[in-house]
Symmetry: C2
DNA sequence: ATTTAATATTGCAATATTACGATAAAGACT
DNA sequence: AGTCTTTATCGTAATATTGCAATATTAAAT
């Protein structure tokens, strides 16, 4: 025991949970917000921006990448990280859809 | 070390991370989706719906409640859990806002 | 007052996450 | 080749999460 029982849930539920889990840390929210704010997106800049050591930032970037939220491309000897719009789009439509469903409901509590 | 350095991030970043973290588990996604689907929302129903033991479900409900995503009101000897629309609304507008910002940007990668 | 039903809490084992120093890897620049 | 810069990986300690059996709590029903 101790590990998440992924196999008992639907693919869609797991997919959304993967995205929200990846965003479930303030450092990773900060990274995403930084990538949206700036025009360049060099990894080193992100390290400078965050109050965390370089290996920690690298690890957070890896998790965002694994979840599909960002993508990185090699740019000389540094790496350019960017938001993957598809992932954000999924989240956006997911919560928009929930909002619509909630509006139609009379919440009992 | 090992604990999240919450104090180094903004309140807003922490607030969003709290919400996304709470949703970062397929069981909790399933709970939220179930609460939206049904009209009644008694805890026992949720336990029957999920492939997890009652204490585990209770714990997930607690986390959703702590994050402000659901609220529970006592209804006889059972408890009525409902979505807190404000939390969903926060997430919805957060991702909608990001989407808009991304549209205006030419992503470099 | 007992019993029953519905949730919560406790305690614990298994696993995962967070953070960072040290080190490695890979490309750029002399 | 050697050095510098940039990013990734390894190893490890501290902490958090996940899951459940056992037990406690609370309110209804008898």
């Amino acid at each position: 025991m101790g590990a998440t029982k992924t196999e008992h849930f639907t693919d869609k539920q797991n997919a959304i949970a993967t995205l929200t889990k990846a965003l479930g840390h303030p450092a990773r929210i900060a990274i995403v917000e930084y990538l949206i704010k700036v025009d360049t997106c060099i990894c080193g800049d992100i390290v400078n921006e965050l109050p965390l050591a370089q290996p920690t930032v690298s690890q957070h970037l890896k998790e965002l990448k694994n979840a599909g939220l960002i993508k990185g491309s090699i740019e000389g000897n540094s790496i350019c990280y960017c938001i993957d719009e598809k992932a954000i789009s999924k989240l956006q439509s997911y919560f928009a859809n929930i909002s619509i469903k909630l509006e139609k409901k009379n919440n009992c509590c």
